[in-house]
Symmetry: C2
Subunit: 186 residues, 2 copies
Amino acid sequence: MRVTKADVIQTASDMADKNGLSNVSLKAVAESLHIRTPSLYNHIDSLESLLREVAHKGMKAMNERMVQAAIGKIGDTAIKGVGIEYLSYMIEHPGIYETIQWATWHGTEQTGEIFRNYLSLLKTLILSCDFKQTDIDEILNLLTGVLHGYTTLQLRYAFHKPEEVKAALADALDTVLLGLHQKYDQ
Amino acid sequence: MRVTKADVIQTASDMADKNGLSNVSLKAVAESLHIRTPSLYNHIDSLESLLREVAHKGMKAMNERMVQAAIGKIGDTAIKGVGIEYLSYMIEHPGIYETIQWATWHGTEQTGEIFRNYLSLLKTLILSCDFKQTDIDEILNLLTGVLHGYTTLQLRYAFHKPEEVKAALADALDTVLLGLHQKYDQ
DNA sequence: GCAAAAACACTAATATCATTAGTATTTTAT
DNA sequence: ATAAAATACTAATGATATTAGTGTTTTTGC
């Protein structure tokens, strides 16, 4: 019956997805858990640290889903699959994604480490396209940029027409990969 | 000697650039202007509305700079010029850019209108590349996505090595334009 | 110039949160 | 079974946004 740290993080995550990051407060989280606000401090250090934990849990879940999406695929197909999964997660968890963005500015070393796991997955997939090792970072920067920017800007439409936006992202990634191959293929 | 609305917005903008959006408060703005916090309400409606005005002013300034950067250029050159200007503005005004991002979620109709001005400029430039009218929106979505995502993710490096990151953005845009031409050229 | 109106600043008060301190109770571990 | 740890509580503090009400300066209309 007693509240656990995982409960607190889960409640904050749900609240972010439902009402937006700006409406996540310790007061609201505590009420949702039927405890008093100060009791939350038995589980967390501060509101900021809670939000960081929401972000970290979300980033890990997102990474895990992208890894799953990549299984059995290589090259362009794998990159597109991972990109679609990235967008899908954001559609399902817009508040967590908002928190992840917040954490890129207010993050700790751990935030960076989890982010590097994501980069590592993409790097492996880029290599599976037979791009040269020396071009990896340029390609990585472009791909991560497109994924972050495209999905963020299309998110408001993605709620209403998720399949259309996912298809559009696949097309956009096709275009980018076309350019990448033309520029970097050996 | 008396404070004007423009002063308030300017002070909040400077504060965002210097200390980050999360450190902008009415208390801090008032202190910086040597007036009491409630006096700010003679100029603004609320903290939220002040942040929106900071964002709107920043978006307009950014649009204006991009228009200037586009003058005398067409096609790929114009798009790259505008993109570099976009990044340059963000490097110079990271706090305002943060506020602009905030406003995309907490914006009003006016926010959308200013954003559409930016889209309109890009559309014109895309047409100057001789792309077909029917492909404009797909191309626009990709370009805006790359600009937002790439610049956001590279911003932390851009502070230390602005010229390198600008050159890297130009290369990334080259790659994207290569793909766009291969896919959409008539 | 002068009276009325508007703009602008102030103090005082209220509301909302986050956070800390200190304490009691329940669960866990030895 | 008892000591320790975890978890909950109440009460208090501090920071900030916001409102109400008031006085003063500046601007406007004549």
